[in-house]
């Protein structure tokens, strides 16, 4: 029997921090999106020709959204579980009549929801600067949800694994950000020399951005089904990792 009440209170409790700092939660993505548009969209973008028929200002919208969604998913979810571990309040979760998976749904669900809200805010802000048309709204949503969930899950794993604050920050900083920047968020992979194109194919973020961009403009670096497949693979890897951690009580339970 699933303890739905527990999932609900964990979820809502995680979300309160978001509502409590609503102004920051909204203001920072709005401001950073606007800044990106001023710098990349207008200043630099005006001297870059359109890519496969899409103006540069439009072209960067999906990548920009993904950049925020990935980093925020990872940092929200990792903090969400790291903090109770750090302060000791995790005792309550561990002694509650819930399985690890119910806790996971609460924590990861909240982190993913925050990212979804964030993405919505960014897309709305972007709409002020460029005329955003979404070719495949369903797929846009599907890619977004899958990305939010899988990277929140990834963040959760990092939060479980991290023994201190340094480790907690090192992953987003040293892995996620470079991957996003090198994953074709702000350019088409076809603009790279052949060698670097091949290297980029090993970057999982490429598939996310490409699929997401396709749902807007029907323009992509790799085929859509490949994108979808790769996201699902990533999700499955994260799920297996987390289930292994739960089975062994890894860093959660003595």
């Amino acid at each position: 029997m699933i303890n739905f009440r527990a999932i609900k209170v964990i979820y809502l409790n995680e979300m309160t921090r978001f509502w409590n700092t609503l102004f920051q939660s909204i203001a920072s993505p709005v401001i950073s999106t606007a800044l990106y548009f001023v710098v990349f969209g207008s200043a630099i973008g005006s001297s870059i020709q359109s890519i496969e028929g899409v103006t540069y200002g439009l072209f960067i919208v999906p990548g920009l959204t993904m950049l925020s969604v990935l980093t925020q998913s990872v940092s929200n979810a990792s903090f969400g579980i790291f903090f109770p571990k750090f302060t000791g309040t995790i005792y309550e979760i561990l002694s509650a009549p819930i399985s690890f998976y119910e806790a996971l749904i609460g924590y990861v669900g909240a982190a993913a929801s925050k990212s979804m809200i964030l993405a919505t805010i960014i897309l709305f802000t972007a709409n002020f600067f460029v005329d955003l048309d979404i070719a495949h709204p369903f797929w846009m949503l599907a890619f977004l949800v899958l990305t939010c969930v899988s990277f929140s899950l990834f963040g959760f794993i990092i939060g479980l694994w991290a023994g201190n604050f340094e480790k907690l920050q090192v992953v987003p900083l040293l892995i996620i950000t470079p991957l996003v920047f090198l994953g074709g968020s702000f350019y088409s992979v076809s603009m790279l020399p052949p060698f670097w194109q091949t290297v980029t194919l090993f970057n999982p973020v490429l598939y996310l951005v490409s699929g997401f961009r396709w749902s807007f403009f029907e323009v992509s670096d790799v085929s859509v089904s490949t994108s979808l497949f790769m996201i699902l693979v990533f999700l499955v890897i994260c799920l297996s990792l987390v289930s292994w951690m739960f089975k062994t009580g890894y860093k959660l339970k003595e």
């Binding site: 009440r5 409790n13 309040t89 005792y91 009549p97």
Partner: protein, 308 residues
């Protein structure tokens, strides 16, 4: 009396190889207050944490109301409330929301009336909208108790509820514990204060080095193991005790007026009569006398010393 928590052959070896619990066997009776005594590092918190599901046992089994704590963890955990030793609370949560959180976590339907009464009983209601970080240590302790009681548990674990707590709050805490007991809740508390165990516990367990050295009714324990002291006040002071009384290992006070005789309460009754007679025989006149029982503290110190 039926037992509600039953521990069989429980051992815990931590990942670093440290054996914190060694083959613990213990039955806790329904509706009783059990005090676990033991020095720092004895294994009290480890034992409690294991029953509550925070630590996985290495060997042995625990059942709560007949349910295994691992196989039927949902059933057992819903019955248990835990007040941890450390003041672990989220800094920015509010009192009201954190108590509601706990209730939901333990799968209980929202019940504002119950929680309101709970907070009032704990003198926390006027702080219900305060952030936890703004509360004093004693109030935080109360919040932890409120969280533990938020889901109306049948068994309450209190890990050193009165550590670092002033006299007033300690008395309050005892009142709360007794009130809980009156409603049929079983209470297990750990403490370093012997007087606490003596004052409120029906049963006392002594743990040292991960071993349960003893578990007994508080009263029986004090009757059985306690030493008694007979203090005799003489009419005229003496400077030295008669040699013939050496076998009693008496102690003469500086004033020369008080003689103290320490004896075992189980076997010592006869020797007291003999001693009193001898004292008379040697021409000493008794003006007054009294008997003092040794406290649980002495018992405890003796046990732990032997075990070390």
């Amino acid at each position: 009396m039926s037992s509600i928590v039953s521990i069989k052959g429980l051992s815990k070896t931590y990942d670093n190889g440290f054996e914190a619990l060694k083959n613990i066997n213990l039955d806790i009776n329904k509706g009783e207050i059990l005090a676990l005594l033991g020095p720092n590092g004895a294994g009290k918190t480890t034992l409690i944490s294991t029953i509550c599901g925070i630590i996985t046992p290495t060997l042995g089994s625990v059942t709560v109301d007949g349910n295994d704590i691992i196989k039927d963890f949902r059933k057992t955990r819903e019955m248990i409330g835990l007040v941890p030793q450390e003041l672990t609370l989220g800094a920015f949560d509010k009192v009201w929301s954190t108590v509601n959180f706990s209730r939901g976590l333990f799968n209980r339907k929202k019940d504002d009336r119950y929680l309101e009464k709970l907070l009032k009983d704990l003198s926390l209601f006027d702080k219900k909208d305060a952030e936890l970080r703004t509360l004093s240590g004693g109030m935080k302790r109360r919040v932890l108790i409120a969280k533990a009681l938020s889901h109306e548990p049948k068994i309450l674990f209190l890990d050193e509820p009165t550590a670092g707590v002033d006299v007033e709050l300690r008395k309050d805490m005892w009142k709360i514990v007794r009130k809980m007991k009156d409603t049929g809740v079983t209470i297990i508390l750990t403490t370093h204060y012997i007087e606490e165990a003596q004052a409120i516990a029906d049963c006392v367990g002594v743990i040292n080095n991960g071993e349960l050295l003893l578990i007994e009714k508080t009263k029986t324990l004090m009757d059985r193991l306690g030493n008694k002291q007979l203090i005799i006040e003489l009419r005229d002071s003496i400077s030295i005790l008669p040699q013939e009384l050496d076998e009693y290992k008496l102690n003469l006070s500086k004033s020369g007026k008080l003689i103290t005789y320490t004896y075992d309460s189980e076997s010592g009754g006869e020797s007291v009569v003999k001693l009193l007679k001898s004292i008379g025989d040697y021409g000493l006149v008794t003006r007054d006398m009294k008997i003092e029982e040794s406290s649980l503290e002495d018992i405890f110190v003796n046990l732990v010393k032997k075990n070390d």
